[in-house]
């Protein structure tokens, strides 16, 4: 079997989460979700990217059974989230956005509670492994209220993992979390994916989606305006910039180069050329030939790819 084998096998299976025509209008009349369609493949890391109030948490809350949908359907591994909620929810772990913990409980008892709540038999060895993986073992007998914010976040993750879910929702997992914990969390998420767990995370930190996700869905005003493989998304929408540092400053772009998309920068010390990576012809060869013909020398050059952040800001801007 070649390396693509497992991926092809996974791709042939039905999606683990499928959402059809899902809408939610809150009692206040606020339309939080407008007819969402989405499917999430087994074993992928899916980032739901959007600004605050876009509907990320509402979507997750519906899938986890905390919010009742107004319209539409959703299923987890073929189990309808309303009709067959027991089977659906047993597969799901949720790490909420807020640090909502039972202050007076110990780390150990709150994690064991979560496992029982999801109907799993007691398994102290499993709980111990989870707590050790999250660097919580030393604190297992501590009351949660005595822990720092970052540690509380770890406790919430431990609780979500206690029943060995197949799907893990992380709602803004790294909001207000320091760099160390963020790295640990990313490592943990990757480790979980190795074991076949599907991970859906919401974020408004673009770098998080860029760093973690296999696929990105952009949600805005209750609508998913785009879902795409991260790499394809960046290739499709990304632009590159070629910056040429000139040997001698220029006062203006010479007429001989007017046919190229050029801008002068750094007080005439550099020329910036913007091009589309998806285009058949990037026009770089032509530009360099014309530069040589015009007698313009440069001492250095660099290219820069637009980040997901630039793409995202572009998308949000276009939709407003």
């Amino acid at each position: 079997m070649d390396e693509a084998g497992p991926d092809l096998y996974l791709a042939a299976m039905p999606p683990i989460i499928s959402v059809e025509n899902l809408s939610k209008t809150y009692a206040t009349g606020l339309p939080a979700l407008k007819s969402i369609d989405l499917s999430i493949d087994r074993g992928e890391i899916f980032a739901l990217l959007g600004p605050n109030g876009a509907g990320k948490t509402t979507l997750i809350s519906i899938l986890c059974g905390i919010v009742t949908p107004s319209e539409g359907r959703a299923s987890i591994d073929g189990h309808d989230i309303v009709r067959d909620y027991r089977a659906a929810r047993a597969l799901v772990g949720l790490v909420p956005q807020e640090l909502t913990t039972d202050h007076f409980e110990s780390v150990w008892s709150t994690t064991s509670f979560s496992r029982g709540l999801f109907g799993k038999p007691k398994d102290p060895a499993k709980i111990e492994r989870i707590l050790r993986d999250l660097s919580l073992w030393e604190k297992k007998d501590a009351q949660i209220r005595t822990l720092s914010g970052g540690m509380k976040r770890r406790v919430l993750i431990a609780k979500a993992l206690a029943h060995e879910p197949r799907v893990l929702f992380l709602d803004e997992p790294t909001a207000g979390v320091d760099v160390g914990l963020r790295r640990d969390m990313w490592a943990l998420v990757r480790g979980l994916r190795e074991t076949g767990v599907t991970i859906i995370l919401t974020t408004h930190y673009i770098e998080e989606a860029e760093e973690m996700a296999d696929r990105v869905g952009v949600i805005l005003g209750g609508e998913i305006i785009l879902t795409e493989d991260k790499a394809a998304l960046m290739a499709k929408l990304g632009q590159k910039q070629l910056t040429l540092q000139l040997a001698e400053p220029l006062g203006a772009v010479p007429p001989a180069l007017a046919g190229h998309q050029l801008e002068l920068a750094d007080d005439g010390c550099s020329l910036v050329y913007t091009y589309d990576t998806q285009g058949d012809r990037t026009g770089i060869t032509g530009l360099l030939t014309d530069l040589a013909a015009a007698g313009i020398h440069f001492k250095d050059l660099q290219t820069k790819q637009s980040s997901l952040e630039d793409i995202f800001v572009g998308l949000v801007g276009a939709n407003r």
């Binding site: 089977a87 929810r89 039972d102 008892s109 509670f113 709540l117 999801f118």
Partner: protein, 253 residues
Amino acid sequence: MNWRAIYAIYYFEMARAWRTVMQSIISPVISTSLYFVVFGAAIGSRIQQVDNVSYGAYIVPGLIMLTLLTQSIANASFGIYFPRFAGTIYEILSAPISFIEITVAYVGAAATKSILIGLIMLATASLFVPLQIQHPVWMVGFLVLTAVTFSLFGFIIGIWADGFEKLQLVPLLIVTPLTFLGGAFYSIDMLPPFWRGVSLFNPVVYLISGFRWSFFGQSDVGVEISLAMTLVFLAICLTAVWYVFKTGYRLKA
């Protein structure tokens, strides 16, 4: 039924009671003992027997009922209100557990605690006054039925309340007055005819009367009526809980 989940919530709630044992168990026992001292010993020594029972013994069933009602409501309402207030309810709502199982777990734990308190009080009271229980099965029946019914009532209050003030409102303004006017310290036959008639609209009168009958074999109203009234109140609470489930009222957006 997801028994493991029911057990997890039940165990969590009982552990909370042990953690706050002073507040949840010892303090109601102490405050009731004070009633014994004041009403039973100090005032009771100047009151003649009621229905051929010494006044000190006569008030025991009423006091136990009074504590049973208030503790059931307090335990159950706090038990469900606090997770809503703290936000930890998310986990309960996202678990593979039905509303019925949630209710069984919370109401079961609250009822267990108040029954425990009731039994401790009974034991305490027997140190002060000679007690006899003529119908022990009925006594336990009324104890359990009342604890469950009022834990259910408390559970509903805990779901309805959207602030700590509302959580206290019903117990303070409705339940406590009804209990004090419900014949905990007197027989309603001692009242003038008009107030006796008014008292018959107080559901607590039936609870206390039935419970007292199981001790002394005498009651203000018939024991069948007492039982029927308790069951009616239970049915009302069950209907309210059913409505909460059906609509997700105040639990699910």
